[in-house]
Symmetry: C2
Subunit: 348 residues, 2 copies
DNA sequence: CTGAAAGCGCTTACAG
DNA sequence: CTGAAAGCGCTTACAG
């Protein structure tokens, strides 16, 4: 256990019991450098005997490499993030890296602490999703010295890599979908905290609507005031309430684009509770392709982001920063797709 | 960045520029030991100037403490696990600990590698959920020397702590629910990989049924052959298929207990696709209280486990192992609750 | 209130 | 093929 036995066996212990130098023991542990077969076997046996496992911390101290990266997300307990996390971790493991997971929970102080802790642990890089930190906070936390890949956010000096999902394209796809369905009174249900993300979605939506000769009436736009990192149920509830506001306001929408699958689900539930037929009276499209969206009733049309691939790509981008292969600031865009389901299509 | 500038500033750099010894610099960094206000200010300024951040690895090497724990789950991209992970991480952060997350993905080799990596990083303890490793594999991987909390699994020599959710109680609750609804032909839909977990659920179910004078006909029991760590959609599909088997077999069930919310959802979809009314013809109850379960149609009755609390408790148990406060092997049981919804109740 | 020395467990040149 | 020495960045007794 901990205190009683004290420390774990070290390389010196191995060396001593095998009658070789630490140096030689190290050679067999790392399988590098020439060692006679006889001594190799002897050392390996001692290792097995005393249950030796190399102390990675000590190794890192001298090699200056940890093979660890940090991943910061607002809240792993929301759809989207687990799939992204899997993508990151799978990519990382394939290259011998481990992942520190941090939930920022939409709390600035907590996010700063998490980043500082990551830096203290000398992670080789950080992937940060939806960071709400200001440029200076970010700089202070990581000292502007840890390679970073940011998703949904710009970087201070164009250092590192920015991954920007095609939110604008997503908004455009929804607009074209509505137009093709002959819906002329579209509405938008967004999230305030996601200002830049939301802005992109709305911009794509508005532009493509305009191109189809449809105006987006401001009376048909609602933004949910909310902080990041809310729970699953809280987001559904927020969508429910927002739909209430929209309807109470008397907005006669015949199509609704909700910027998040969970708020879309809430909005639909509110509409149904009021006896409004979905999609006949209001066609609804969400965003994010959460797993849930295929199993609600009516099944939810949504803009699908390749989440796993996004995580996977993020790690690859980070790795090329770590390797120093990439000098120029880079911007990666990932394109979404429309998945049309019952909530927007006439016939299920 | 990485190679170019080379290493980050060290405590020696701070000491040199502040004209003090490393020792004194260390005292102000750690806020421990007496330092005159003048030198403290001088040192702090230098720290800010050169952007010094203590190297936790070096510190850990001498203190023999890392304040890091490992968390191994089959697949974070399934409901249940994210909420548990949040509970673990929140509890850990409150005590100054960080969490290494590992997805075992139902792959034994990957799980062993993950554990070895954790040991190499000298995590102070490990929480492992649903490990499929044999006792010997587990022992080899962690050297029987890292404090562990296992969920859903026994420990080799009764070392550490075992958390066992009240699966048997859960099964009993479902049986009593069915009995009170007057259902006399219950069926069971389980997962093969979860043999011990499944066994408990089934045992509780069977016993309580018997107590109510109802027999569980083996023809009404199906077990899905499956490996651990499957995706969300794969589990729903598995439930869909299993329901098909049950119905094809001609089992005339009037109530179904599915051991997992996702397989329950799949089973319901299959039934509906065949024109079977839920709950009128078959009452369905799932297990796990996944977030989704409240939003499908009909909403899914389920056995609710306090997932977040489970994670939180797991960390606390681990901490008491780490502190050496606890010597005796401990077994913690967490009790579930029935959440009755439309899939089992006559009126929604 | 401050500092010189030793050591945590490893690897990296450098000799032989 | 093998080893003695130095050092990674820190903290811990021990002196003054």
């Amino acid at each position: 256990m901990r205190d009683p036995g004290g420390r774990l066996p070290t390389l010196s212990d191995v060396a001593m019991r095998a009658n070789v130098s630490k140096q030689t023991a190290s050679r067999v542990v790392n399988n590098k450098g020439e060692v006679s077969e006889a001594t190799r076997q002897r050392v390996l046996e001692v290792i097995r005997e005393i249950g030796y496992s190399p102390n990675t911390l000590a190794r890192s101290l001298v090699t200056n490499r940890t093979f660890v990266i940090g991943l910061s997300v607002p809240n792993i307990d929301q759809p989207f993030y687990p799939q992204i996390a899997r993508g990151v971790e799978d990519a990382a493991n394939e290259r011998g890296y481990s992942v520190f997971l941090c939930n920022a929970a939409g709390d600035l102080e907590r996010e700063v602490q998490a980043l500082e802790r990551l830096r203290g642990n000398r992670v080789e890089g950080i992937i940060s999703f939806n960071s709400r930190l200001t440029d200076t906070m970010l700089d202070r936390a990581v000292g502007g010295v840890v390679p970073m890949v940011l998703i949904n956010r710009e970087l201070p000096d164009n250092r590192g890599t920015v991954i920007w999902p095609g939110y604008e394209t997503g908004g455009r796809l929804v607009a074209e979908h509505f137009a093709s369905l002959g819906r002329r009174r579209p509405g938008y249900l967004g999230l305030e905290h996601d200002s830049n993300v939301d802005g992109d979605k709305l911009r794509g939506f508005t532009c493509a609507l305009a191109a189809a000769g449809i105006a987006l009436d401001p009376a048909r736009v609602v933004r949910i005031p909310s902080r990041l990192g809310r729970s699953f149920n809280a987001l559904v509830q927020a969508g429910y309430d927002a739909m209430g506001m929209l309807l109470t306001r008397g907005a006669d929408v015949d199509a609704l684009f909700a910027s998040n699958d969970l708020t879309a689900i809430g909005a639909i539930r509110h509409a149904i509770a009021r006896g409004i037929a979905i999609p006949e009276e209001i066609a609804v499209v969400g965003f994010g392709a959460a797993n849930v969206s295929g199993y609600v009733t009516p099944s939810l049309s949504t803009i699908s982001m390749p989440l796993y691939e996004m995580g996977y790509t993020a790690f690859q981008a980070l790795l090329s920063l770590i390797g120093g292969a990439q000098r120029e600031p880079q911007q990666v865009t990932i394109q979404p797709q429309l998945v049309a389901r019952a909530s927007s299509l006439a016939s299920p």
